[in-house]
Symmetry: C4
Subunit: 233 residues, 4 copies
Amino acid sequence: MLEDLKKRVCTLNKRLPSSGLVILTWGNVSARDPKTGLVVIKPSGVAFDSLQPADMVVVDLDGKVIEGNLMPSTDTPTHLEIYKAYPQINGIVHTHSTYAVAWAQAQKPIPCLGTTHADSFKGEIRITNFLPPKAYSDYEKKTGEAIVSAFKEFDPLDCPAVLVRSHGPFTFGRTPEAALENSLILEKVAQMAFISETLCQDNVPAVSKDLLKKHYERKHGESAYYGQRKLPK
Amino acid sequence: MLEDLKKRVCTLNKRLPSSGLVILTWGNVSARDPKTGLVVIKPSGVAFDSLQPADMVVVDLDGKVIEGNLMPSTDTPTHLEIYKAYPQINGIVHTHSTYAVAWAQAQKPIPCLGTTHADSFKGEIRITNFLPPKAYSDYEKKTGEAIVSAFKEFDPLDCPAVLVRSHGPFTFGRTPEAALENSLILEKVAQMAFISETLCQDNVPAVSKDLLKKHYERKHGESAYYGQRKLPK
Amino acid sequence: MLEDLKKRVCTLNKRLPSSGLVILTWGNVSARDPKTGLVVIKPSGVAFDSLQPADMVVVDLDGKVIEGNLMPSTDTPTHLEIYKAYPQINGIVHTHSTYAVAWAQAQKPIPCLGTTHADSFKGEIRITNFLPPKAYSDYEKKTGEAIVSAFKEFDPLDCPAVLVRSHGPFTFGRTPEAALENSLILEKVAQMAFISETLCQDNVPAVSKDLLKKHYERKHGESAYYGQRKLPK
Amino acid sequence: MLEDLKKRVCTLNKRLPSSGLVILTWGNVSARDPKTGLVVIKPSGVAFDSLQPADMVVVDLDGKVIEGNLMPSTDTPTHLEIYKAYPQINGIVHTHSTYAVAWAQAQKPIPCLGTTHADSFKGEIRITNFLPPKAYSDYEKKTGEAIVSAFKEFDPLDCPAVLVRSHGPFTFGRTPEAALENSLILEKVAQMAFISETLCQDNVPAVSKDLLKKHYERKHGESAYYGQRKLPK
C-alpha cells in the first residue's frame, strides 16, 4: 500500500545525510497520505545507505503499525501529535542539523534577523517549553504536545519550523518535500543568525515587523509575486 | 536573440549553487548586452538544475519582457536601477551567501582588514540605508535606488559589491563573469573579517589607506603589475 | 594472522581522512582480537592512501611486535594502557578532529548541552590531568594512564570518549567500528557545544541529569527502545 | 630546463585550490633547484585549471627570467629574499587560506595551544612587522625582508610558517612538497586556535615549553621516533 508515498519518503530520508543535515542514522522524514490519513515514516536506527522504499513503516494516527516489517522511528509519537493537531500538515522532518541544534541547546529561539529568514518563516523560530521529568514515561508523545503548545493559535505553516528545547529542530510542510526544503532553509538561517549575533555580541535588532511581513508575503501572501505565475500583459 | 549571452548567463546562474553561494532557488545573475542595451536575467523561482539558456528572460531597461516564456526574477527592478545608473556595469550578481548575509543582518559594513579585501575592493563594503515601509509598494526598484545612493560619487567598479541592509549582497562587473568572481571574493572576505573581528573582540583596526591603495592599484591601478602583460626587458 | 581484523582496521583507518576527522597521516585506529588478546594497529606515519591490510601491525599487550614489517603507531602504548585497563573495550580511535582538539586546547571538558550528546555519552566528555614533564620519558604510556585515571570507577563504555589535555580525543567501543562512530559523534557534539557556548557567551546550562539519563537509556539502557528489536504486538 | 621540477611545482600549485587553501588565482608555490640555484615559480594571475608545467617560470635569485613565456608571480621578489637568506629552504608556498589570513588581519601571532601545533611548529607562528609606506616602491622585496627579520637567529625550518601582517601566510620546507604540507597544517592549526580562543574568550594559556619541545622533538628531534625507521629488536 502507498507505494508511491513510500518511495518519496525513502528518497527524502536519504537526502538527510547527503545534504549534510545529519550523520549516521540521525533524523527522520514522515508523510501523511491525505486520502487514507495514514502516515509513512522511516524505520528506527537503520542506515540511510541501505534504506529501501519497502523498509518504510505505515502507521495510523494512534501509532499502530499497519504495514512494515521494521519498528518505526522512535520519534513516531512526536510526528503523530503534530499530524493530529494540524490537518494542513502532510510532511514532517526531524534533523540534528548543527546550527539549529546549537540554538536549541542554547535554549534560545532563533530571531528573525533578515530577509533570508523572513522569506520562509513569519517570525522567530519558536522553542518548546521545558519538559518536566514526570512527562518522560511518554516522552515522544509529550514532545509532540510541547511542539503543538509552542504554536497555540498560530498556523505552523506560516512559520514551519520549531526547536525542541535542548534537542533539535522539526520542520513541517504541506508535503514532505516542502518540509525537507524548510529543514535546509532553517539550518542556513540558524548559521547566519549565529554569525550575525557573534558579530554584534548578541545585540542584533530583529528585522522590523514591516520588513518581515513584506518579504514573507512577497513569497507566500495572497498577492505573492515570487516564482512563475503569468507574464504581465 | 542574444543567444550567446543567454548561454553565458545560464551557465553563471548554475554556478551559484555549485560554488556554494546559495541553496535552493536563491540568487540571480544578469547581464546587459552592450550593443542593444537589453538585459538577460534568470527567471523567478526556477530550480538551477533544470535551467536552460532558453529559459533566460530578456527585458529592456523599463522592465518590459522582450523575449522569454517565464517571469523574470523578482529582483529584476533592482538590477535595472543599477544598470540605468552605471553604464560601465554590464553584469550583476545577487546571492544569499552565508557570511555576506550575516554582515548585512548585523547591519554593518564589512571593514577592509587586509590585502585579500584590498586586492579587489577599494575600501569597506558599503551597506544601504534603511528602506522605510512607505517604499514597499515599489520595493525592488527602491532597493536598487538605495544601492545607487550608497555609492554617490564613487565608481562602483572600484568597490564592486554592496550589502542591502538586513538582506544580502549584490556584486557588479564589466561582465557577468567578473560580477560572479566578485561574489566569490566577497563571501571569502566576509568570512575572514568575521573571524578576525571575533579574534579581536570587535577591535581590529582597518588597514591603512596606504596599504589599501597599494594593493588595489597593484592589481587595478594605471601601473598595475599583477597578471600577464609583457615580460620586462 | 588475524587477516579479517587487519582488513577491518585498515578500512577504518582510511575512513579517518575520508570522513574529515584528520588530514595527512594524523590519527590511528586499533582493535583487539577478543580470542587472542592481540592488538592490530596502524603503522606510524604512513599515508592513508597507500595503506594496505598487510601493513597493519600486530602487537601484544606489552607492545611487542608479533607480526608486521612496519613500526606501529607512536601512540601504541596509549592504546595498550586502555586495553589493559578495560577488557570490555576492543576498539580505540585517536583523531585530531578540529573541534574536539579545540576543546582539548581550551583545556575544558565538553559539557553535555543537549540530547545529541546525551544519546551517546552519559555525561560530559572528560579531560585528562596535566602530565608533568618528568612523565615524558614514557610519554605515550603515561598518556594512557592519564586516560584511565580520568574514568576512575566509571565504565568508559558509558561515555566512550576522552580529551587528552592540550592534545586531542580518543574514543572507544566494543568494536573498532563503534569506536569510529563515536569519533564522528564526538566531533559533531564538540562543534555544536562550541556554537551554543558562543551564542550564550559561555553560560549555557548543561542539560538536567534527568534528560541526560532519559536520552542515554532510550538508546543504551536496559529498556532501550531505539533501533530494531521486535514489533510491538 | 628543470622539466621535472616544473612538473612538481605545477602539480603543487594545482593543489592549492583543490585542497581548499585558495580560490580563483590566489597563492603560489615555488621551488629552488639545489644544483643550479634557479627558482621555478607559478606565472602571475593564471587560472589553476589551465596551468601546464611549461607555463612555469624559471628565474635566478636576482629575479631575471631565465626561461618561460609568462610573467612570474607578482610575489616572486618575496620568495627570492627568503631563498637568498636561507640555503636550507628549497620550497615556499604562499596562500590566502581563510583562518591563517584572519589571524594575519587580526595582527596577532598564532599561539601554540596544543600538540597539533607543536608537532610541526616549534613555537608561535610569527607575524611580520608593519611595513612603512616608504617601502612600497619595492613592496614585494621588502615583504621578503620583513619575513627574514621575523626569524632573526632562529632556523625557519624549525617553525616553517610566518604571517605577513594584514596579508597572509607563507610556509617553507626543504622541498616544495614539505612547504605545501606545512600550509595545510598551518590552516588547520589556525582554525583550531581560533576555536580555542573563542571558547576561552581569548585567555587560553599557550602550552608549556616542555610539552612543546617534547612533541616537536618526537617528530623532528635527533631522537625522533615518529614514522618508519627500524623495528626495535
